[in-house]
């Protein structure tokens, strides 16, 4: 793509314009922009202030339980275990 300009200043102007366009596109699509678009419907941090007063009293209350008998770990698991 030949640069059809007749003076250095014109070419420099084109360069600045191009650079400005690229900078604008990069800034617009930067992660920060996308984050700003994300709706902040629930600004509360997990576990701070939004828990009811009658929430868990100890860590063991919220520790994930595991099933004593897991049907999907049986020798012949039911069909729903392979469902997607």
């Amino acid at each position: 793509m030949p640069c059809i300009v007749h003076s250095t200043s014109q070419c420099a102007l084109r360069l600045c314009l191009g650079a400005a366009l690229i900078a604008a596109a990069t800034t617009w699509s930067a992660p920060g922009h996308a984050q700003a678009d994300t709706s902040k419907s629930n600004p509360a941090q997990p576990g701070t202030g939004t828990q009811p007063a009658t929430g868990p009293s100890s860590l063991s209350d919220i520790a994930p339980r595991s099933a004593i008998v897991d049907p999907c770990k049986a020798k012949n698991p039911p069909a729903y275990c392979n469902k997607r």
Binding site: L15, A25, T26, A34, P64, R65, S66, Y80, C81
Partner: protein, 189 residues
């Protein structure tokens, strides 16, 4: 001569700039998907749904002896029927019903969000897959019996329990991990 150099520079800058802009755009898109998935996680924690999942597992564990008997069935059909019967009878309990009423629609929303690419699958699976597995494994027959083919209802727990599909970003992630690992390596002697 100067003009030609400047022209070449402009062309090069444009090509590089477009590439950078595209990569940044993709990264921005992915970040918003991650944020959306994290919003679901925050909702899960804020709504005390983990307590519901724990409650469901506790209730299932109370029936572990019956479940063990059902799982010893010789043929697959009676095993399937026995499990569905057991899980359906459990789901008649008002508290279990209420917990399922909160948990299943939550995972339906998340599953749809992941399936349609609006939420980041890797993030969603990393944060909530184990919880979905707890529900799907122990109440799957009952939940599956509620499904209809033309509705996403009661599909979410199954979507979320399955291992994530390979990410479209796996190559970039691999590149990132490689560079991180290389940076973390001790200097060669």
């Amino acid at each position: 001569m100067v003009n030609q150099i400047l022209s070449a520079f402009v062309s090069l800058a444009t090509i590089i700039g477009i590439g950078i802009a595209l990569v940044s755009y993709k990264a921005g898109q992915r970040q918003s998907r991650v944020d959306r998935a994290f919003e679901f996680y925050k909702d899960f924690r804020a709504s005390a749904l983990d307590a519901d999942v724990n409650f469901l597992v506790d209730k299932w564990n109370e029936k572990s002896e019956e479940a063990a008997k059902v799982l010893k069935a010789k043929d697959q059909q009676s095993l399937e029927q026995g499990l569905e019967r057991l899980q359906t009878s459990l789901a008649q309990d008002a508290k279990i019903k209420a917990a399922l009423l909160r948990v299943v629609p939550f995972f339906d929303g998340l599953g749809q969000c992941v399936n349609t690419g609006l939420c980041d699958g890797d993030t969603a699976y990393a944060l909530l897959q184990d919880r979905a597995v707890s529900v799907a494994n122990n109440y799957g027959a009952y939940v599956a019996s509620l499904q209809t083919p033309d509705s996403p209802f009661a599909h979410g727990v199954f979507i979320m329990k399955s291992p994530p599909a390979p990410s479209r970003w796996s190559f970039l992630q691999w590149l990132q991990q490689t560079s991180t690992n290389t940076a973390a390596l001790p200097p060669a002697e």
